[in-house]
């Protein structure tokens, strides 16, 4: 069975800007996006074959609303709530605001969630030999998304360095 990855619009849009979406359909993961994220990314949904849209209901929806009360964006809140429901320890998101909110949050549940970024996909693409080097693409994504000197740049850079690139 394929592993499910919960992915936010920020990461998917960044991959789209670097023309990397075609590789997403070839990896051995299911890409799960909440309905709110699907709305944010629009036509990108149709370009990823292994993408599934999930509608939040009941308690999950309530958790998401509670997160939104902490000023977390609706897409990010839905991703984190979905991770709680599916008992996932992480979501994939490149939202600077979310990183800062989790870092400074006193909410224990929220602090337990780990955040992976687009660097995770660069790692997978490299492992599958879809790309020959991660660094050129890393710098391209940072530039195209105006993420220079941000938490997102540092997090993805640190991740790739930790992974030995």
């Amino acid at each position: 069975m394929l592993e499910d990855l919960i992915v936010d619009s920020s990461t998917l849009i960044s991959l789209e800007k670097a023309n990397l979406l075609n590789y997403l359909s070839k990896i051995n993961y299911n890409i799960l996006v909440p309905q709110s994220v699907a709305v944010e990314i629009g036509d990108i949904c149709r370009l990823i074959k292994n993408l599934k849209i999930v509608e939040l209901k009941g308690r999950t929806l309530k958790i998401s609303k509670d997160l939104m009360d902490l000023s977390i964006g609706s897409g990010e809140s839905d991703c984190v709530a979905l991770a709680f429901r599916l008992k996932k320890s992480f979501v994939i998101c490149d939202d600077r605001k979310l990183l800062r909110q989790i870092f400074f949050s006193s909410n224990r549940g929220l602090r337990k969630i780990k955040i992976l970024g687009f660097g995770f996909f660069l790692h997978v693409f490299r492992r599958e030999n879809f790309i020959s080097d991660v660094w050129d693409i890393f710098h391209l994504i940072i530039e195209k998304n105006n993420w220079e000197r941000s938490e997102v740049q540092v997090a993805n850079y640190s991740f790739l360095k930790e992974m030995g690139y």
Binding site: F90, R100, K114, Q153, S158
Partner: protein, 96 residues
Amino acid sequence: MEINVSLSEESMDRINELAGALKISRSKLIRRAIKDFYLKEKRARENLLFFVDLYRNGVIGKEMLFVLLPRDDAEAVVIGSKFGKEAAEVVRGLDS
């Protein structure tokens, strides 16, 4: 070169206090502040990832980051490094 700057009363009080404490003129104080700010900004603009490596490898700590870089950049290094390290631990678990 001379320039005229409009300052609030609070800023003027601070300049006077610092100039008095450091026993330097207000002009010299402002020149020094601009130089410090310029250096911090230049380091961040041109070498942020170098400072990320220094921090990740334990060569410099949080306090030194805030001395060397503008506050926003120092925060980005501290926060981003934490998330990057945690992400790598998660992915090593997935890969194994």
